[in-house]
């Protein structure tokens, strides 16, 4: 039984945002790339199914430039046998339909009985590639699987879907099928060092039987992303410090909980939050008052 798992490499999405207005301030400063956590769970599920059926192969397939090679090989070391790569030059312009079409072409050439993917990726959160794959491969498709079992000597799969509020839907479908898995299905195992060393030696096999471009020379897509923006944060009442002060001093005031008098710009550098022992604070305070001729 051959299982193919679609694995996506994503950039770290909770990083500090960047400074470039052209990129809508979303370019993350951290150049951390990793594999989508749902896809890791899919790999673990594929390995468990293979262990239960006692023979079989698990292939990993990834689309786009290789940015997270170490994490990808780590996924392979969880239990995969081979790693396939479809080198699409610029996958920012591709939409889910185009990606699924390319993936489906590659998966057809691999001739598998089960395709597993993550429910949605953390960066785009579209969740559509799995559904399109089911369509292009002409396989039954079940999404949001939180539990699955093989029945009838490996010819039927019974999947439990999470449909919200703790309810479950149990669906049986014959193989070959496409399943999308959700977090909560399993806890991926920690790979042993031997597997990690093995996976470092594995070749990344290329599949290049895809055609991106249509007859007019443009990339074949059904949708295009027009604009990405962050939502406006909800306003929260906060005591605003004196706007004459610089941002650093305002932050310090909010942190320290004090208030400072309106001073001339030349004296602004002397303002600080007084810390330390009681004696020290008293002395600093008294000298401050004397300096400003308040005593």
């Amino acid at each position: 039984m051959r299982i193919v798992v679609c694995v996506k490499q994503i950039k770290h999405v909770y990083a500090r945002t960047g400074l470039d207005p052209e990129q809508y301030f979303i370019a993350p400063e951290d150049k951390i790339c990793r594999v989508n956590p749902c896809d890791e769970i899919a790999v673990e599920e594929a390995v468990r199914i293979r262990e239960k059926t006692r023979n079989g192969e698990v292939f990993l397939i990834t689309l786009g430039p290789i940015t997270a090679e170490r994490d990808l090989r780590r996924c392979l070391s969880i239990g995969g046998d081979r790693l396939y790569h479809i080198d699409v030059p610029d996958d920012n312009q591709l939409d889910s339909w185009a990606k699924a079409k390319i993936l489906a072409g590659a998966i057809k050439s691999l001739q598998c009985e089960l395709v597993l993917c993550g429910k949605e990726s953390l960066d785009r959160r579209n969740g559509m590639v799995g559904a399109y794959l089911g369509h292009f491969l002409d396989f039954p498709f079940v999404s949001s699987v939180v539990q699955c079992e093989m029945m009838n000597k490996g010819r039927v799969i019974r999947a439990h879907r999470a449909i919200g509020r703790g309810d479950r839907e149990v669906i049986e479908c014959p193989l070959p099928a496409v399943l999308t898995v959700e977090t909560g299905l399993n806890d991926p195992r920690y790979p042993t060092l031997i597997r990690k060393l093995w996976s470092m030696q594995q070749p990344i096999r290329q599949i290049d039987n895809f055609d991106l471009y249509g007859n007019d020379g443009e990339i074949k897509v059904k949708t295009k992303v027009g604009d990405v923006s962050l939502p406006r944060p909800r306003p929260r009442p906060v005591s605003t410090p004196d706007s004459n002060l610089s941002a650093m001093e305002r932050i310090k005031m909010l942190r320290g909980g004090g208030s400072s008098a309106r001073t001339k710009k030349s004296e602004r550098s002397e303002e600080k939050i007084i810390e330390g022992t009681v004696d020290k604070q008293t002395e600093s305070f008294v000298s401050f008052l004397k300096k400003h001729q308040l005593l």
């Binding site: 770290h12 909770y14 990083a15 500090r16 993350p28 400063e29 951290d30 951390i32 990793r34 994490d71 780590r74 806890d187 195992r189 920690y190 790979p191 042993t192 060092l193 031997i194 990690k196 060393l197 650093m248 932050i251 310090k252 942190r255 810390e275 330390g276 022992t277 004696d279 020290k280 002395e283």
Partner: protein, 637 residues
Amino acid sequence: MIASFDVLLVIMALAVMAGGFIGHVRRWKQGKPVKLQGTRKRRVLGLLAYILGHRKIMEDRRFGIPHLFIFWGFIVPIIIIILAQFSFTMPPKIAEILSLILDICGGCALIGTVMIIFCRISARNKVSGDKSVSHLWLLLAVLITGFVSEGIRLAVIPEPNLIGSPVGFIVSQIMPASPLLLDLMIRLHFFLVLVFLALFPFSIMRHILAAPLSIYCREEGLPGELRTIELEREPFGSARVEDLTWKQLLSADACLSCGRCERNCPAFLAGKPLSPQKVIRTIFDQMDKRYRFRHSGKNRETDLLLIDRESISEAEIWSCTMCMACVQACPVMVQHVHMITDMRRYLILSKGFFPVESKPMLRNLEIFGDVYGKGPSCRTEWSTDSNLNDIENYQKGDVLFWVGCSGAFHHRVKEISRAFIKIMSAAGVNTCTMGKQELCCGDPARRMGQEELFQNLAQQNIRKFKDYGIEKIVTFCPHCFNIFKNEYPHLGGEFEVVHSTTFLDELIREGKIVMKYPLSLTASYHDPCYLGRGNGIYDSPRAVLQSVPELRFKELSRSKESAFCCGGGGGRMWMHDASGSRINEVRSTEISHEGVDLVSSACPYCIIMLEDGIQGLEVEKKPPVLDITEVVARSLA
């Protein structure tokens, strides 16, 4: 004086003894090869200083004093008796003095034996481990028959020699003057001595071979340092006794179940399943069992695992905080921490088994390079000072201030980093930080056994240090300090590493820091494990505290070498407490009984753990917990 039949008996006894000891040596040889450290001269001198000084053994007075008596009570008479077999004439005065020495030694040995039997039997209920005394009864019989023989001899041939043999003289008053009985007693004494000798390797006395050898082969480095392993092929770590080195098996053989490790182990005292003594005894038993299986002639294939339901359980291995109290207390230099780390390495690297609650921490280290999973771009959030020098502006002579994961991300430890920067700018020391290029030093990964992750992080850090030409690193976290100082050199990175307390001490003495404002409180100091036992730094933090004006220093009852761990080391900060009480609560209760106004420490883990512990106590006065740098910053001019 000795008949030929007696010579035959002596040879037989010695042969049995030799055979038994050779069996022990063969058991150690099951382990992996390893080279001894240091020069031979240093090792021999170290061994002699240890044995003649008896200082480590005397740390526990109850067993140390009787051991001293028995030891000298045997060495001296053995030398004299062997010399006395050769017939040569001796002036009578010398002979009298020698006879007196013999008697005193015998008397000391007798007192010591009785004391040890008593202490070992009374320790049976309190401490686990095999507290056999059977061989000691034999020793007692040997000594008693010896004195009885001497008494009868003096009764038969009365020499008014109170000075020459005082004990013998006393015994001779109650003994009948019968030459036949004398002969019988001497025969019995001789026979008992031979049996005693022959049974050496099969009883508690086997330690006369294993213990000196274990001390001879001791580890040269500081206790805080772990052995770096190659990660090329299996086995990683130790799954079975044959994966341990012969030095480790030798030290397990030298263990006598004295129980000092257990009595000082914070996990054991807090009720957790770990007992260092049981770990070492299990290793010894497995070593013995495996040897016997292989040489039983039945050609049985064995697969004895160290970590098994019947031997050592995983819960025991993960309960260790790596505080080195057991290593410090052990009189025969058993390195419990190294063996537990080897077993952890096997569990993580070869099987992938570890407490599931620490998986997020390890995944964070793999993906983000820090234990909290916030990412490198958030590493500079702690400093409100925009003048902080970044590594890009590093000039030769600058000091690199290593902030560490807790110093950069933990809300409590960020204040220590800020206090340190304030002191540095007041002292006029040019510091810079790695800023966003800092990665975790790798200590949590290494202590949990994940060598591969540690070596990855370490090599990235070392490359960055070398690219920028860093020479001196100052840090306030003893775990980072220990790793940079003792473990990075094995991976190619040698730098001058200074802990913040040593650095502050130097600056105070040079006068660059002036502490003006008095803190009139009673303060105590909790020794961090990796600063104190791990690297021997006890004095500089105390010196810094003493130089704060009007601060009264009170030493805690368990401090310096016998300080009690806070419970945060060994990766335990990220693990649940499955059984027993919490180690930090035990220590906080102990500290609160001292009645101090301020608790200070020099380690972020200790600060976090002690603060949590003290907040949870039900006392009226909860002393605040401050780092040494914070205390200095408060008093700074």
